[in-house]
Symmetry: C2
Subunit: 174 residues, 2 copies
């Protein structure tokens, strides 16, 4: 059985939406996704970068992220013919462990928690595929990297790209 | 650079000592390590198995485990010629995440936390070697499993065995 490793933030959990909303509320702005095409919020607002980055240090930040549309249905379907692991770089946000675990147990209860991986450097992942929004994780990944579209990676052309979960379904079950 | 994945409990952290002490104190017994040769505490005391297993659900249980003798020195030495990852089946004890992370940051500060992995099923680990006290993790591991001696695995003869960290040093740096 082939194995698919799947990232959390911006792939199955809508990190971006909550983060941008928090910023807009706190700074009375109305930025939208396309303002972040090819960049990051902390890069276009360097004067408050520290404050923006600190949003995610709040232990509960990751607990109530919205589920990315279609991810539950497609992963459930894929799990019949592929081995599924959720692989998240949680070590970058050590305060997030419990929130991330509880979020997965709530929204992806059909997966075994023995298939959840909290790591940092994803070259440690032994899988055939890795679906991720961060191209840096593909560099030393031994399998096939699949870039899940997010504003910050919009102009990357060096990886197989999927724009949404329907395209993931097509890629694997076509 | 070859990569060594290293388990925590009973390999670099003395889980067993604290667990057995707690049992002896709570039940006014004087069990010693050799009473557990080839078995587990909850197996030889089935009438209180649930209580014994619950010790580790306490969020701070893993925070003050003693460091296994020689592990810091040898891992520091190995890290010059090998890539080191700490790979622990923390998903079996979700309450333990923070304690395990803080313990590693305290005692193995010379390792990057991006090289810490909290997982369940260790077949997800992409490494050349895995040093672990639980033979079940070697079953689908793609590299070389190295069994670190612990009372419960005393009679296993089906894996390369190291009895202590000096033997780990000899194995890799001989």
């Amino acid at each position: 059985m082939k194995r698919i490793a799947i990232d959390m933030d911006e792939v199955i959990a809508d990190f971006h939406k909550k983060h941008l909303n928090m910023y807009n509320q706190n700074f009375n702005e109305e930025l939208i996704n396309s303002d972040l095409d090819g960049t990051r919020l902390w890069k276009i607002r360097p004067q408050v970068a520290e404050e923006i980055l600190a949003y995610v240090d709040e232990p509960t930040f990751f607990r109530d992220l919205e589920v990315m549309e279609g991810s539950q249905e497609v992963i459930k379907e894929l799990s019949k013919t592929f081995e599924i692991f959720i692989t998240t770089a949680a070590m970058e946000h050590p305060n997030s462990f419990t929130a991330k675990y509880e979020w997965l147990k709530e929204h992806f209860a059909f997966l075994s928690d023995l298939n959840f991986v909290f790591c940092g450097n994803k070259s440690i992942i032994n899988a055939d595929y890795l679906i991720d929004d961060s191209p840096r994780h593909f560099k030393d990944f031994k399998g096939q990297g699949i870039l899940f579209s997010a504003p910050h990676n919009k102009y990357r052309t060096d990886y197989v790209r999927v724009n949404n979960w329907e395209e993931v379904r097509m890629y694997f079950l076509k």
